[in-house]
């Protein structure tokens, strides 16, 4: 699915496929607009990544979905019913597992005791089946060995694992995870990623907020990007990144860079090469070879046109030292969309080389 316009309240999926939908969701704290007219659709089976810089409204949105924060206006529909229907929302929440920000537990109780409390909150019966389920999720997050320790003795990573265990305790249909890898070591992060993938394979919908864009790109099928409370884009990760693909050229001589940019730009503008959508300078990736002049030339064009682009340049006596497919990343897309540092490197006017590019 392509990225949908911000103003579109509906996704392309049928209504009964949408497990969580926000409609014009707005939250205002005094003068500050935390969430502004947010329209999100989370489909059944999605691993949906909610992305955004600090203060963009991610956690506030999750809090509203979980009934912790009251929306100023707009609505949230979960499992087909509005949260304004208190009883529906209460029962819907019992089908959701969540961690919002840091996991919160009773410090003087052990892990199993805390999970017993979560089971009580979630309306699970105080039965042998519940106790067995508690043991199961503790094993799942590798905390069975520490079952006799009180929560206050747990490390940050163990606390996060207990939070994940609590989120999975009631076999939820929707799991909401706010920064689930916070405090985990690299191995723990990999395991959480594997766990999320496995949940998705088993049909459990996951709504995830994270700052770790690389992680999100690896596990999420769809993302929504927020900035200052507003939705900038949402859609399938592959579709969003397709717009970021293209070609990257580097040259052995610095003066060839602006010449190549001029040739390709003119060809794209004149219609002789309509498949060229744009040309701009980009810096090399960290650790990569730095060409003379310090810049690369990025061409927004289909990868299969690489030979045509090469031929265009060769016709003008310009030969690229390297021509390769540009690897699109969610990080680049995110930064470009939210006005991060990557955007600053994008030169909209390709005819003049960036500073240092003509050295």
């Amino acid at each position: 699915m392509d990225a949908i316009p911000v103003s579109s309240p509906k996704g392309s999926a049928p209504a009964d496929d949408v497990i969580l939908r926000t409609v014009g969701l707005t939250k205002r704290y005094g003068q500050r607009l935390a969430v502004n007219q947010l329209n999100l659709d989370i489909h059944r089976g999605d691993v949906f990544g909610l992305l955004g810089p600090n203060g963009s409204g991610k956690t506030t949105t999750l809090r509203m979905a979980l009934g912790l924060v009251w929306p100023t206006s707009g609505d949230i529909e979960i499992f087909g019913g509005s949260i304004t229907n208190t009883e529906h929302h209460r029962l819907a929440l019992q089908r959701i597992g969540a961690i919002v920000e840091q996991p919160a537990f009773y410090p003087f109780l052990t892990g199993p005791e805390n999970l017993r409390g979560v089971a009580t909150f979630a309306g699970m019966a105080d039965s042998a089946a519940t106790r067995a389920r508690i043991d199961e999720v503790l094993t799942l997050v590798s905390l069975a060995e520490r079952r006799r320790d009180s929560y206050k003795k747990y490390s940050l990573g163990m606390k996060q694992r207990l939070g994940i265990a609590a989120a999975l305790l009631n076999n939820p249909e929707l799991v909401i995870l706010d920064e689930p890898t916070n405090g985990l070591d690299p191995a723990g992060m990999v395991e959480v990623r594997a766990l999320i993938s496995r949940l998705a394979q088993e049909g459990i919908t996951v709504l995830l907020s994270s700052h770790l864009l690389h992680e999100v790109q690896q596990v999420c099928t769809r993302v929504g990007i927020l900035k200052e409370g507003s939705l900038l884009a949402q859609g399938e990760v592959n579709s969003l990144l397709a717009t970021e693909g293209g070609l990257v050229l580097s040259f052995a001589e610095a003066q060839m860079l602006p010449r190549a940019a001029e040739v390709l730009h003119t060809a794209g503008q004149s219609g002789s090469a309509p498949w060229i959508r744009g040309v701009h300078y980009v810096p090399p990736e960290p650790g990569a070879w730095i060409p003379p002049g310090g810049w690369l030339l990025a061409v927004d064009a289909p990868v299969e046109r690489a030979a045509d682009a090469n031929a265009l340049l060769a016709g003008q006596g310009i030969y690229a030292a390297e021509l390769r497919r540009r690897e699109a990343s969610l990080e680049q897309y995110f930064l470009a969309l939210t006005g991060g540092t990557a955007t600053a490197t994008r030169a909209e006017a390709p005819v003049s080389a960036p500073q240092g590019g003509t050295k």
């Binding site: 809090r63 979980l66 009934g67 912790l68 924060v69 009251w70 208190t86 209460r90 029962l91 819907a92 929440l93 019992q94 959701i96 969540a98 919002v100 840091q102 919160a104 537990f105 009773y106 410090p107 003087f108 109780l109 005791e113 409390g117 979560v118 089971a119 009580t120 909150f121 979630a122 309306g123 699970m124 019966a125 105080d126 039965s127 089946a129 519940t130 389920r133 199961e136 999720v137 094993t139 799942l140 997050v141 590798s142 694992r161 609590a166 999975l168 009631n170 076999n171 249909e173 723990g188 395991e191 959480v192 594997a194 766990l195 496995r198 949940l199 088993e202 049909g203 459990i204």
Partner: protein
Amino acid sequence: MTAATAPTATATAPRSLGPWLAQTLRLAGWMLFQARRRVMTKVLGGILLAGFLLLTGGELLAYVAISNQSPARNGCPPAAVQTQETESNGGAGFTCQEPTPEQLEDIKRAQQQEVNSQVQGLTFPVSLGRVGTFTSFLGVLLLCILAGALVGGEYAAGTVRLAISRGVGRGQLVAAQALGLAALALIVAGAMLVLGALSGVVIGPALGGHIPGLPFGGWLELGAYWLALSLNIFIFELVAMFFAILGRSTAAGIGAALGYLVGESIVSTIFVAVSQGIPGEFGQFLGHIPEWLLGVNSGAVPVYVSQSPVDLGISTNSVLVKLTTGHALAVTLGYCVLLIGLSYALVRTRDITD
């Protein structure tokens, strides 16, 4: 962590969507479980028990002291009586004289009455009144601390967020907290009365006290006394709960409740004292203010309940202003409704960001 046994979507979760009340009772039970697992509960319980033992020990010491007291006064030898010296026999002082047999009999009778009174206080059922008065002071104080910690702790640890995000209704949360606190008050008041009863059937008779047979109404009175004591504890727990919710912290709950407990006692005493010095309607108005204060009324209920058909030995003079049982009970229950309502209004309308 291993993802090998991730739950399946089709697994049947042990889920109960029972009635609201059943869930609320389970939440109240969870609160009691938490209370039992807190170190603070054990410490406060220990203090209350130690206080009871000190009280009982003090009463026993007093009994021993009174029993062994010599009738002599101001340095007179045993079995002597004091007479006022006159001008003629050397000055304004005391002198000792051998008592007459009648005087000696009077002295012994007075001493025996004192001993009997002390023994009666250590004998069931009057022992309950003694323990009840103690519980109305130290029990209330300690349970204010526990209630503030239990309710405020939910905000400090962030577990209020855990509960609500799992489907616990906001009204349900407040109702469960109030029910849990009520159960705690009943447990503590009951436990203290059981201790008082045990000491009353063991210590009192051992010292020669007599346990009277209680009429049916007497047993009902003891039940009502238990409820009245619990209500007196509960109302201050509710004060702690309200302030813990208002301030979203343990410190706010404990501090404000203890502050109110002490503050009301001082303010009501001042009102009564000042009203006696101011003649006219304004003075009367000031004197009536304590009749509507929370602690004055809640403290009066057990005192009035303990008067008949069995006198548990608590003087009605201990109540600052003259009230009726109905008035005290109605005002106390009114405050209960008000505090629970205000707590609910706060929880209902506020965003949970803790």
